[in-house]
Amino acid sequence: MKTVEEINQKIKDGDVVVVTAAEMTQIVRESGAEEAAREVDVVTTGTFGAMCSSGAFLNFGHSDPPIKMAKTYLNGVEAYSGLAAVDAYIGAGQPNRNPDIGFNYGGAHVIEDLIRGKNIELSAESYGTDCYPLTEVKTEINIEKLNQAVMINPRNCYQNYAAATNSTKETLYTYMGTLLPNMGNVSYSSAGELSPLLNDPYFETIGLGTRIFLCGSQGYVIGEGTQHDTSVERENGVPVGGAGTLMLKGNMKKMSPDYVRGATMPKYGSTLFVGLGIPIPILNEDMAKRTAISNEKIVCHIVDYGVARRNRPKIMKTNYKELRTGTIEINGVEVPTSPLSSYKKAAEIAGELKNWINKGEFYLTNPVKKLASKGFEVKPLETRKPSVLVKDIKVKPVITVHPTDEINAVAKKLVDNSVNHVPVVNSTGKLQGIVTSWDIANAVAKGKERLGEVMTRKVVVAHEDEPVDVVARRINKYEISGLPIVDNKNNVKGMITAEDISRLIYAKKGKNGGSL
């Protein structure tokens, strides 16, 4: 048994023994937890990953005459200023107000540029009050000029996280990176055995007030992060999914751009790569055992981002040793994997924190209050109305045609039923393709006779049990006017059109008193 005070005395005396989490795994493997607990005082961890739930409070100081900033922009990115006159919070995921720039320079990039000491254009508007008469200000700031620049990240450092793949036929652009079609790749984000909260999985040493490495400076844990969850299933003592999270605080004036970077996930948004490391005091044999966790023992699921629902289907279980080999076998096929969070940087951070402690520049802390290790569960957002599924909406009875039909007959069908597209099915009703009135006109012009020659075989479909909102997004994405509804056996059940959907949205909004 050791105490944090004893460890700090050793740091002061210069004889503290610090190892990284990766080194600890080796040490315990070779000499056992009991011996390791005696030998080692501190295990350092690290992670460097995209953490969207990050941001910073900035205080600009008062102009003369003063202004109560109501709308505030930094290099064109809005910072929330519904606070006292000259305070604002810039969130990492805020896109640029110029749509041509959008995600390519968002809140995360402003944060990086501030830390780099660059000049930033500040523009603010206000309504003017007796005490704050100015209604507009435009000037240049930099981190030196700010009174405070405090990074406060509501949710960082997920304990573990599911890996992602995509079963659909289209490439998906997600916060888990680019996911290739037909399960063409897998991306995962946890730093595995180096990851802070996997080395203290029951939060025995981490809590409010724990001093940490944050973006190259000394920061603090200020409590559980949002969506902190203690109910996730465990294997080998560590959760197999998201689970614990941290809320963090740090002084941006002391941070280094080596350990914090603004980034853009294509077609998703801007995000901040946050470098953080937590020292784990080895107070007893149990802590030695827990910090010895290896990639092999850390399990996670691979989930299918092809299903845009809250509960995405799980494809299979894996572990970080397997993911780190660079390929993984899914249904007999070798699929390449991508880490998404930098293991190189994570190791660098664990190493740097180790240096700080060895040099006596960093002392450990006893948390004022440990993070909750039970009683936290993440509640879903219940929407006032449950989402409407495709099968719940009334669509016109389905009209279908066959590939062998003559063009003239199909043209007549389109006109008689006043529809613009019909699904093409085989003799058992399974979807083969789709044909639009434009295809027919084209076929007539070119003298084609059979439908099979002109129909589109690659069809975007809607599934019966999908929410209509998911289908609406698909209609927008492919810029199409309608798609066939199929059941899970590819039998055509109907057609859903952009009109059906806008009618539905209109009805929804109308009843709630909203406007379009």
Binding site: P336, L340, S341, Y343, K345
Partner: protein, 128 residues
């Protein structure tokens, strides 16, 4: 080797590439092509026993040949070694090294551009 072939408008209609493949003992790959009646460019890879003779033939036919060694360039200051690009490369030209750094192998790269679009740091550029 990899090279850009520059086609002037006058030779766009000639059967140069077909003859090259037919008459020389070479491995030949078209990695990219953008050719219109006004001329254009083609990125090729040419190897094999008679590669040198093949190249001579191309030059005699009036196609200007610009050998290249790099197809993409990774900006090391921008790259954070996250690895997001690794699984996207169709020819496994991007690898995670021993020290967990991410490296692009120019010999293998075919300039498809998949990594350049998806890199969160916009650290990889295709060299034109």
């Amino acid at each position: 080797m990899k090279a850009w072939l520059n086609f002037s408008p006058s030779i766009v209609n000639k059967r140069v590439i077909a003859d090259l493949i037919k008459n020389y003992n070479i491995n030949f790959n078209i990695l990219k092509a953008n050719i219109t009646p006004k001329g254009g460019k083609m990125l090729i890879e040419i190897n094999g026993k008679e590669a040198e003779e093949g190249i001579k033939f191309l030059e005699e036919a009036g196609i200007e040949l610009q050998p290249i060694t790099r197809v993409v360039k990774k900006d090391e200051d921008k790259c954070i070694d996250c690895g997001a690009c690794v699984s996207l490369c169709p020819v496994t030209a991007i690898k995670i090294e021993e020290d967990w750094g991410v490296e692009v192998d120019d010999e293998l790269c075919i300039g498809c551009g998949f990594c350049t679009y998806s890199c969160p740091m916009k650290a990889i550029k295709i060299i034109e």
